[in-house]
């Protein structure tokens, strides 16, 4: 069984904007690979380059946010393709948990399987958190996965995590393969009951 993920503590990195798709998180040219190694340095590559050209700095390039463990994102984060390369790149950059307004479904599911808790909060709460981090990048935050809370600067934010994934993370069952393998005999029965299997 995988390890229990109950608490994450560290600094935050804010990535503002809604509907940030997986093509932006990891552009397709970095999908030409047979392992996920090395993807971390290319997270948000094109957004980073573009901001650099405009004389601005993406949070992932900003020296103040290096070493951060908690990504704070907007709504519908991770929409678009199913590429696990996207959460892999974010995780390999150093992120251990994500707080957002909402997550695209496949992206969320991929993070379940990777053991990266994703919490949701209202747009106003997320914006307040992003502003707090920007004002003080050294701000230490802590996430309690079982309580779905985020504590920082003396305040505690009640966030949300769906029950199933919450249990999977906190009880070390987020790597589903083992549980699925345990059901092998029932799987055979279901396969036998489906008419199309024998057509």
């Amino acid at each position: 069984m995988a390890q229990n993920i109950t608490a994450i503590a560290g600094r935050g990195v804010p990535v503002r904007g809604n509907d940030i798709d997986t093509d932006r998180i990891i552009p397709a040219r970095f999908l030409r690979c047979v392992t996920f190694d090395g993807l971390g340095e290319h997270a948000f590559e094109d957004d980073r380059l573009q901001l650099k050209e405009q004389g601005k700095t993406h949070a992932f390039d900003d020296a103040r946010f290096q070493g951060a463990k908690i990504l704070v994102a907007g709504a519908n984060f991770g929409c678009g393709s199913s590429r696990e390369h996207a959460p892999q790149a974010i995780m390999r950059w150093g992120v251990e948990a994500i707080i957002g307004v909402s997550f695209a479904e496949i992206f969320f599911g991929n993070n379940v399987a990777l053991g990266v808790p994703c919490l949701t909060a209202s747009a106003a709460e997320v914006e307040a958190l992003q502003s707090a981090i920007e004002a003080d990048p050294s701000l230490e935050m802590s996430i309690d996965v079982a309580a779905a809370t985020v504590s920082y600067a003396g305040t505690t934010l009640q966030a949300a995590i769906p029950d199933g994934p919450q249990r999977m993370w906190t009880t070390g069952q987020w790597d589903a393969t083992g549980q699925l393998l345990d059901g092998a005999s029932e799987v055979k029965k279901v396969a036998a009951s489906l008419p199309y299997i024998s057509w």
Binding site: R29, R32, C79, A176, V187
Partner: protein, 470 residues
């Protein structure tokens, strides 16, 4: 919670058990793999010493990285070559069928499976690709999955899943001339937005949907994911059965009637209960084009780019970002926007009917693509290419100034040599207009139907196809 919908029936038939996590272990009837999202899954299998349990229920092809011009091996791109070798080795070692380039059966995974009759009503389908939603056109429940889940399916033929809610999206009435399945789904996305589908399966219903061919239905379901819905489906009917009949993997002889009876039984009941229902009118749908950076930012071709206050306050930053990125102004008509590249292909619109529609526009228009525009047609599969060539479509395209290519994903996502460069703007029959999607980090994409791409190519600018085909 929904009841007696196709989704509920298919889910219940495939539910193995409830997992300790509270999720459902769901049997997967058809697993499709391609070269981009499978190598890491096979590596995990090796590391954990796990065998592929039902190798006959997984089918592989190659599409994303395959060049559409020079296909000689080894590929010029060493990384692409490495990925090809990985899937060749992984399938050979595990006994999974691979439809490789040159086999006559290769193509975009979501085109290959339906054309071989692999996709059938009542199945659960999974693939490491978000456009797996396409297979729902047959009344299958189909999910795009990540690579760790590809490993789970290889190792157990099941997935750990949370049940979805069901939203019925009804479209009724007859489509106007020049209005296609692509316009229907772009219209739905413009109305519902790109987030509304999170947590839902979309059931597309109504007379407009059921009047569509299977190819049109696939176009609609293909883009359910762009609305945030992980899966979209259409109840199987006579059109579905006629399409499947006689295909390589279709049930044969005495099994056929048994199959049709089962397929009919899994359709949503007349008194099925939905979590939500929305209704649209076919008469309100024009040829539709996207102007922004999400597939939901679309409008009728006769309309002007909307002002920021036409959107919810929440969307304002994204709308402003879209104007700036696309270099388009609110109030500007979308018709007349000049294009540099025209791409006809992809799992959304790379099937034979799509190519026929585009070729018909070329003939009705009569002109040729101006030198300022690069236009190319990429058949969705080797089979589509054979049929198109037998009908002489390739000659029509080349005569009118389009390039004719080999099968693959091509410039849909540009993991192969087909890419936009710099700020080029493309008219594209694909499914995503995300920033950087077509290979240039600053490239721009206007999504539209294949017929609309064809006329845009010939005119060098966004043009209402109805001015050409009366």
């Amino acid at each position: 919670m929904s009841e007696r919908t196709l989704f509920d029936k298919v889910w219940d038939a495939h539910a193995v058990r409830q997992l300790p996590s509270g999720q459902t272990q769901l049997f997967i009837g058809l697993h499709l793999i391609h070269e981009v999202t499978s190598p890491q899954a096979f590596a995990m299998m090796r590391e954990q010493n796990l065998p592929v349990v039902y190798p006959e229920r997984t089918v592989a092809t190659v599409d994303h990285i395959v060049p559409t011009e020079d296909q000689s091996r080894p590929y010029a791109d060493g990384l692409a070559e490495e990925m090809m070798q990985a899937i060749e080795r992984n399938t050979a070692e595990t006994g999974v069928t691979l439809h490789n380039v040159g086999s006559g059966n290769q193509g975009v995974v979501h085109i290959v499976a339906p054309e071989q009759g692999l996709t059938q009503p009542g199945m659960t389908v999974a693939c490491g690709d978000s456009h797996t939603a396409t297979h729902g056109a047959f009344g299958a429940i189909s999910f795009g999955i990540g690579t760790s889940q590809v490993r789970d399916v290889l190792a157990t033929q099941t997935l750990s899943m949370t049940r979805l809610k069901v939203r019925k999206i009804e479209v009724n009435g007859e489509l106007g001339s020049g209005v296609t399945a692509k316009d229907v789904i772009l219209h739905i996305l413009a109305k519902l937005g790109v987030k509304a589908g999170v947590g839902f399966a979309y059931e597309f219903a109504g007379s407009t949907i059921h009047d569509l061919s299977m190819e049109g239905r696939m176009t609609v379901c293909n883009m359910a994911i762009e609305g945030g819905a992980r899966c979209g489906y259409i109840n199987p009917d006579h059109t579905t059965f006629e399409y499947i009949k006689g295909r390589d993997h279709a049930p044969k002889a005495d099994k056929w009637d048994q199959a049709v009876a089962w397929w009919q039984s899994i359709a949503s009941d007349a008194d099925a209960v939905y979590d939500d229902v929305v209704v649209y009118n076919a008469a309100d749908i024009e040829p539709t084009v996207t102007w922004g950076i999400t597939p939901g930012q679309g409008l009728g071709v006769s309309q002007n780019i909307p002002d920021v206050d036409a959107f919810e306050a929440d969307d304002e930053p994204l709308v402003r970002e879209a104007y700036a990125y696309m270099d388009l102004q609110p109030g500007q008509p979308i018709a007349g926007v000049p294009i540099d590249v025209a791409f006809i292909g992809s799992c959304t619109n790379g099937r034979i009917e799509d190519l026929r529609a585009a070729a018909a526009v070329c003939q009705a228009h009569g002109g040729t693509v101006p030198v300022s525009v690069k236009a190319f047609v990429v058949p969705g599969s080797e089979r589509v290419k054979v049929v198109a060539e037998a009908e002489g479509l390739h000659e029509i395209f080349t005569k009118h100034g389009f390039e004719w290519r080999e099968a693959g994903c091509s410039m849909c996502l540009a993991m192969n040599p087909d890419k936009l460069s710099g700020r080029q703007i493309s008219a594209s029959s694909s499914n995503r207009n995300f920033k950087g999607r077509q290979g240039s980090p600053t490239g721009r994409t206007l999504l539209m139907s294949p017929a609309m791409v064809a006329v845009a190519a010939l005119e060098g600018k966004v043009t209402d196809v109805r001015t050409v085909t009366k």
